[in-house]
Symmetry: C3
Subunit: 153 residues, 3 copies
Amino acid sequence: MTHEERFEKLNLTLPTAPKPVGVYKPYIIVDNIVYVSGHSPVLEDGGHIIGRVGKDMKAEEAKEAARQTGLAILSTIKTHLGSLNKIKRVVKVLGMVNAEPEFGEHPFVINGCSELFVEVFGPDMGVGVRSAVGMGSLPHGIPVEIEAHFELV
Amino acid sequence: MTHEERFEKLNLTLPTAPKPVGVYKPYIIVDNIVYVSGHSPVLEDGGHIIGRVGKDMKAEEAKEAARQTGLAILSTIKTHLGSLNKIKRVVKVLGMVNAEPEFGEHPFVINGCSELFVEVFGPDMGVGVRSAVGMGSLPHGIPVEIEAHFELV
Amino acid sequence: MTHEERFEKLNLTLPTAPKPVGVYKPYIIVDNIVYVSGHSPVLEDGGHIIGRVGKDMKAEEAKEAARQTGLAILSTIKTHLGSLNKIKRVVKVLGMVNAEPEFGEHPFVINGCSELFVEVFGPDMGVGVRSAVGMGSLPHGIPVEIEAHFELV
């Protein structure tokens, strides 16, 4: 199955590809790598999931936010590259969680995005290297920000 | 106009290219990419802007610090590569802000660096992907640290 | 001397190459770059060094944890690539320290990893670009997480 075929079968609803809120591009291609800017958990209505893990929300809710952030990244790819089939594989994910100092379940949270990428890109090509870490704060109080690199076909 | 011509017209004063304060190089080139180490807001006298956003300084001051950090990055490039014309474009910026947990204006702060890159490298080549995020702490209490990748001509 | 010869002379004991605790790979190769996931200070018995700098541990102890994290990265390379001689040089290190907001000695801490890389890969090839920064929290309360890129021979 191709990435697009898998994506169709999942019946996912993507948010509109987010427009930059600063001086940056949503993605850039150099050679065979697509660099994707840090994405937020943007919803279908254009709003954002807001909250700090360990204070306003639980790890399970933050994992949902990470999945929503992954959907935003997929939307950026589909919108600007035209097809998920342009992607060969996930190379690198930096998963940043807005959490209280004592929080420790960052890998569990970021799996929300990583498991989505597996569903779409497959169990090998959907898995790259990753760091899942805790930030002191994130823009507008979002719980998760994720940047990623993909390899082109 | 070339990057150097734009730079000359701006009449900017660059700080001295910072020397590493640890076991790292200020920049490294692999193939057509220049990787630049995390830079600080170093001043012309060699001192640093210090402060935590939301505690010791406001977002507007932190944005100035981000611009100063961008000037330090330009100084590293000019000093070690000889000319800004060696740069084709900005690929990636990771903008890290030392801020209180409730702070949310990271994109505004990091625009201080990104707007400088637009002035120097132009409105297309000066804009790359970006994440603008909040750290728990930064070396010696600096408000901003920025690392970047550039593509060579 | 080759990297393997230097490594042998150092008489280091590596921890077992860590298995992913989430949906990611320990390393991935694209073209001539080895991307390595964020690593923890894993010990020979499989346990981890735990603690927050400025609260539970001092900078010197965190530097030891950074060295241990570097040993885990070397273990990942040796285990999966077969030999340290496959590495040409260190390209990039992102050193993330779990520290209290007033902590400022991140470069000192991450030197624990960087000095190890110099011992193994030599004074030129062992030194890449770096950012050494403070996180709000890290998985399971580890004091240091480090991700790195290497260039292949």
